[in-house]
């Protein structure tokens, strides 16, 4: 009944009258991605469009352990890889550039240099092939892709990545931010801690923390800062860093010989390992995230949660969220790393929705912006 009443509200997006193809370009952080998506009319006269991912190609700029990615270097990476990736995306999709109806690019938020590089590529393609442009909000891209992949209709959205941490609910053609981080993003917190303890950035620092955390055995006390529906993470990061200066800190347990490991275990020696810290950091930070998500659910009266963004592929986070949601009689929707982590296809999806609603970004307005709030976008395609 719930879905019925919701569906009854007709979305303003008309059913596709012909196949639409969109090329999406993403490069707001250290990944350059190109993706091609198509929306075709439903089969046998169905009004539900057939959405098909034709290709989804990505290349990540990986820095050595202990180093983050700097804007200038990242921009250079995107410039080097753009053509190769786009060409591969077009080949994989088995289409020609002339088949593309619209080019969507990330307008923001993100790092200035990388965004500019990608926008330049988008503009060039647009003029070269005479294809209209649409600028897309990166966060809305994540949300629309997550909604499509998981077919969750109107969930509470937890958007967690290297640069964003927001709890979002849709209302009246806006994605409204209910809660967010007051300082750094959760992905940033994890990345920076990975740098402190020298975990590699390949494939991703967050992934390596997740693996390391599996070996953690003790939960150390850390500050727990939820403020209403907002959270604060810098204190958490400093406190975890503080433990690495503790006398009891012995580095990664995995680097010790088996004999030493056995000794620590048997003698019950009071030691802190990298694994313990990763475990503690994850448990505490994710507990805060799940808590504010639950708050938003209780406040709005929604039962379903959609997790998007790079940190969203962390399985422990998905598990914790799953337990919370099932206690409330709801469900959790999450995607795998091909859609969670920044990619071109999500930009294409959001861009194509906007394009079909008649939105265009004229070339002279095809700028980028480092700060572009999720709730600044007018979501014309939803009721």
């Amino acid at each position: 009944m719930v879905t019925e009443t919701k569906r009854r509200k007709v979305a303003p997006l008309p059913p596709a009258d012909r196949p639409y193809i969109c090329l999406g370009l993403e490069g707001s952080a250290n990944k350059f991605g190109a993706g091609i998506i198509s929306h075709s009319p439903g089969l046998n006269g169905s009004t539900t469009d057939v959405v098909k991912v034709l290709s989804n190609v990505r290349h990540t700029y990986v820095t050595p352990p202990g180093q983050g990615f700097l804007p200038a270097d990242t921009a250079r990476h995107h410039q080097q890889w753009a053509l190769t990736i786009i060409r591969k995306a077009v080949e994989d999709a088995r289409i020609e550039m002339k088949d593309v109806d619209v080019v969507a690019y990330t307008k923001g938020p993100g790092m200035g240099g990388p965004l500019q590089s990608v926008a330049l590529v988008a503009r060039t393609i647009s003029m070269l092939y005479d294809i209209p442009l649409v600028g897309v909000n990166h966060c809305v891209g994540h949300i629309e892709m997550g909604r499509h992949i998981t077919a969750s209709h109107n969930p509470i959205i937890l958007y967690v990545s290297g640069g964003n941490t927001q709890v979002i609910a849709y209302s009246q053609q806006k994605y409204r931010i209910f809660g967010e981080t007051l300082d750094i993003a959760v992905g940033n917190c994890l990345d920076r801690f990975a740098r402190v303890v020298g975990l590699p950035n390949d494939p991703a620092p967050g992934y390596n923390i997740e693996q390391s955390a599996k070996g953690g055995t003790r939960l150390l006390p850390l500050p727990y800062a939820t403020k209403g529906m907002d959270i604060s993470l810098t204190g958490l990061l400093s406190a975890t860093e503080g433990y690495t200066h503790d006398k009891r800190f012995i580095g990664p347990l995995a680097s010790k010989t088996l004999e030493e490991q056995q000794k620590y275990k048997e003698e019950g020696e009071d030691v802190i390992t990298t694994e313990d810290l990763c475990f503690t950091l994850q448990e505490t930070a994710f507990a805060m995230l799940v808590e504010i998500t639950e708050r938003a659910m209780a406040h709005v009266g929604s039962a379903d949660v959609l997790i998007v963004g790079g940190v969203g592929c962390n399985e422990r986070l998905q598990q914790m969220m799953g337990i919370m949601a099932s206690e409330r009689g709801g469900r959790v929707f999450a995607t795998d790393e091909s859609f969670c982590i920044d990619n071109g296809i999500m930009i294409a999806q959001a861009g194509l929705l906007a394009y079909r609603m008649g939105q265009r970004t004229p070339i002279e307005k095809s700028t980028v912006t480092q700060r572009y709030r999720t709730d600044a976008v007018h979501v014309t395609w939803r009721a």
């Binding site: 967010e180 209403g228 507990a287 808590e291 659910m297 209780a298 406040h299 206690e327 409330r328």
Partner: protein, 293 residues
């Protein structure tokens, strides 16, 4: 934590009202079960002669009790969970008492069981300010709790109607309500209590039982409260409310201004200068956060 905990047994007789983010809230119709009284033999005779005397206090006014059970959150690490539950029960109970001393109307604390995660308090017979203001944006979202139980639907509709008519029946305007809220909050902050989760759902409106004023604002849900007098914390507390107003009642900016004006007046010029200035900074802070992703 076992089932034998006497406070947990209370739940079995109680009715589940709602599952909030923090806890399950129950309504216990009668405070005490039928008491079995054992009198010293000397007094028994006397007691039997006047049977009403022993139980008159409670049978004449069976005040319902609100039970708030912070059940273990299994998604959290058990250590973290018990630590947080303990902290929040303590801060909630302390703040409730502190509020009472400061003359702020809050539910009276009846019992605390930290081990079981249970707090019992006075049942407030009234409406949340959110209900009174008409709920705003959420009203249009289908409520999953409604499902297909027509009865519940009717009950809710009746309640909603009643809540929306509450202002009229109490003879007050929205502006007056906002002024009262602002005044209450200034008293709260002057008593150095930070609520930590101010929303329109966490304020209730009820007809005053004793006073001539006609109505009173009751603040509830002090689980995230703390004790502080730093302008920063006061300002953040207000900012949380500001955001809650904006997201729950999208067209309410004018109302919220009424709250702020009354708050400023209640706080006094000198202190408001500090808190208000800080509030402007905090507002920018919330907006700022939108960078790379």
């Amino acid at each position: 934590m076992s089932q034998t905990s006497p406070t947990l047994q209370l739940i079995e007789r109680a009715e589940l009202i709602k599952q909030g983010a923090e806890a399950r809230v129950y309504k216990l119709p009668v405070y005490f079960p039928e008491p079995s009284i054992r009198w010293p033999s000397k007094l028994r005779k006397l007691a039997e002669e006047t049977p009403q005397a022993s139980s008159s206090t409670q049978s004449s006014s069976p005040t319902p009790l609100l039970l708030k059970h912070r059940f273990p959150k299994t998604y959290r690490h058990p250590h973290l969970d018990s630590l947080l539950t303990r902290q929040r029960i303590q801060s909630e109970s302390r703040s409730l008492l502190r509020c009472l001393k400061a003359g702020i109307t809050v539910p009276l604390l009846r019992m605390v069981d930290v081990e079981a995660g249970m707090v019992g308090m006075e049942w407030i017979d009234g409406w949340s300010v959110r209900e009174v203001l008409g709920g705003g944006a959420e009203g249009e979202e289908a409520d999953p709790e409604l499902e297909d139980e027509g009865e519940v639907d009717e009950e809710k509709a009746r309640r909603r109607k009643e809540a929306e008519g509450a202002l009229a029946s109490l003879g007050i305007t929205i502006e007056q309500l906002m002024t009262s809220i602002g005044k209450t909050l200034s008293t709260l902050h002057l008593a150095q209590i930070i609520h930590g989760d101010l929303t329109t759902s966490n304020m209730m409106l009820r007809p005053a039982p004793t006073r001539s004023a006609g109505y009173e604002i009751v603040l509830i849900d002090f689980g995230l409260s703390s004790h502080s007098n730093v302008p920063e914390n006061l300002a953040v507390d207000l900012y949380v409310l500001e955001r809650a107003f904006a997201s729950t009642h999208p067209t309410s900016e004018r109302w919220y201004q009424g709250v702020l004006d009354a708050y400023a007046k209640g706080l006094g010029e000198k202190k408001w200068a500090l808190v208000g200035g800080r509030l402007d900074e905090v507002r920018l802070r919330g907006r700022k956060r939108d960078m790379i992703g």
